[in-house]
């Protein structure tokens, strides 16, 4: 670990601003989806990103995959810029697994052909592809005869396994999972999480795992980043976040995990009402309108940049 730590993902000042037109004559509004993010992910580690709907998780994922050029900042994946990279080399470097199992597989393609696609693009022959598909199906725990089916003949969990098989068939270094279990039953979610953990070790993957549920990333991630309105408001090692969450928003996320403990009742949500609006980011600390600890300082002055972006992080006030 010392000295030679190799970072496969390096983002410096990464931003994404969308222009959104409200009506024909209204002027375009700026949506700050990702706001000046800097972070690094070490080779072979797993970064969990957690945050509410609309905080910019998917936008960040799409930028990491090279699907969306950054409005500002630099992003180096595997030491290089994805934009100048050969598409085949890019595919061997980084692969996605998406949230919606219904729309992540081409409905007109048989499962076997879907899984083989990344390999076909690399120029591998049909016979070799067929063998690789059979091997991948086994890796993700699906029966070989699934290869001849169409997506609408599969359950959600099975489709997600197919999506994972497709991503891993080219043996990529990085896997970006954008809420891969949010659309699944909890029992199926557990299957997929266990599968990802196994495959991560077996394929020596660097993993970016996105979710809105803090409890879900605990099993997978080495580091956890809590995202709020386009920024990481807390970013630390897994054990630290769960043992001693320092940002009030992290504490709220942790409290809203419903554990199967009857008698506890529903958690007191320390979050204020209202949903964050990326077209209108509050001045000062961006979390202050919903923060139970907010003071005059928070309303006026942005917290210092760092692992925990909160004025009271150090003192742990109110925790």
């Amino acid at each position: 670990m010392v000295g030679g730590m190799n970072h496969v993902i390096e983002a410096i000042g990464l931003s994404q601003v969308f222009r959104q037109r409200q009506g024909l004559f209204a002027s375009a509004r700026q949506v700050m989806a990702v706001d000046d993010l800097s972070f690094r992910v070490a080779e072979g580690s797993a970064l969990g990103i957690v945050g509410e709907s609309g905080c910019g998780k998917s936008t960040l994922a799409r930028m990491l995959l090279g699907l969306l050029p950054a409005s500002a900042g630099t992003l180096r994946i595997g030491g290089a810029d994805l934009r100048g990279m050969d598409r085949r080399a890019r595919a061997r470097l980084i692969q996605p697994v998406f949230q919606d199992p219904m729309s992540s597989l081409n409905p007109r393609r048989r499962i076997g052909a879907t899984i083989a696609l990344p390999l076909r693009v690399q120029g591998t022959g049909r016979a070799e592809c067929r063998r690789a598909v059979a091997r991948m199906l086994e890796e993700v725990g699906l029966a070989p005869e699934i290869a001849a089916r169409f997506p609408n003949q599969l359950s959600g969990g099975q489709r997600q396994r197919v999506a994972i098989a497709r991503a891993l068939i080219v043996n990529p270094r990085i896997l970006i999972c954008d809420e891969p279990t949010s659309a699944l039953d909890v029992s199926v979610q557990a299957q997929i999480l266990n599968l990802l953990m196994d495959l991560r070790a077996r394929f020596k993957l660097t993993l970016v795992f996105i979710s809105h549920n803090l409890a879900v990333v605990e099993h997978i991630a080495d580091e956890v980043a809590v995202m709020y309105l386009g920024r990481f408001v807390e970013h630390s090692a897994n054990a630290e976040i769960f043992a001693a969450p320092r940002h009030p928003y992290t504490r709220a996320l942790l409290a809203s995990v419903l554990t199967p403990e009857p008698g506890l009742g529903l958690p007191e949500m320390p979050l204020g009402e209202g949903s964050p609006d990326p077209t209108n980011i509050p001045p000062g600390c961006r979390f202050h309108p919903r923060c139970p600890l907010a003071t005059e300082l928070c309303r006026n002055q942005a917290p210092p940049r760092g692992a925990v972006e909160c004025h009271f992080a150090a003192s742990g006030a109110g925790a």
């Binding site: 799409r62 995959l65 090279g66 699907l67 598409r87 085949r88 890019r90 595919a91 061997r92 980084i94 692969q95 996605p96 998406f98 949230q99 919606d100 729309s103 992540s104 597989l105 081409n106 409905p107 007109r108 393609r109 696609l117 990344p118 693009v121 690399q122 609408n152 999506a163 497709r166 991503a167 080219v170």
Partner: protein, 274 residues
Amino acid sequence: MRRAALSLGAAIVAFAAILAIFAPLLMPHDPFAQDLTHRYTPPFWLPGGSSAHWLGTDGLGRDYLSRLILGARISMLIGVSTVILSGIIGTTLGVLGGYFGGRTDAVVMFIISCRLAIPVILVALTTVFMVGSGLWVVVLTIGLLLWERFAIVARAATRQVSGLDYIAAAWAAGCSRTRVILGEILPNIAHHLLVIATIDMAIAILLEAALSFLGLGVPPPLPSWGLMISEGKDYMFFKPWVIEIPGIALLILVLGINLLGDGLRDRLGARTEQ
């Protein structure tokens, strides 16, 4: 009920296709052979009709059934060729606009708007009038004018499909843009295009009939159904069957194509929504 309509449409179109393909084998007489001693022989069910000419003869004594069968070939040929031509133009424009968006899309929308500003019949008439009539002139003229429905539908469907995750996954798999379009987008919008193809085919066939009726379509002695109606129009009141027979043939074919299109839309739509 819907199934019945689809089957009926398919049967009609299949029948017309068989007539068109095997016309030389199916025609009982030479459709161009004149026999001035047997002009306007009525069809067999009218007094004076005979089994020598099931549907009678026209003003030059040519066998009407044979001409009708050859006419089916011409109608189908024109329908299919124009749809292929306009389908290629429209789908290319629509898919490019829908997939790339931005400036490409603006250009495509502008071209579509320009096309929509052109009055089809008027331009077709003028073109054929100036270039001279002929089968391929008609195909080219109609084909170059009728692509806008393909473009609009292909563009809308492409925009819808290209936002889906499997397109992003194919891109991440390293597919080239051509491969994304041909392998992922086209197969998933094909069912929309098939429906447009049937609509445009019916329109093309009717347009050809209209041009031929005006004497600007397929040149005689080729027996286009429109031309047959035109040639018979002077005798409309004395020998109505002269225009009734090609008229009904035209009606049935267009109806069949439309039934097929509607049926396909329901079937394919239901299947993809599953």
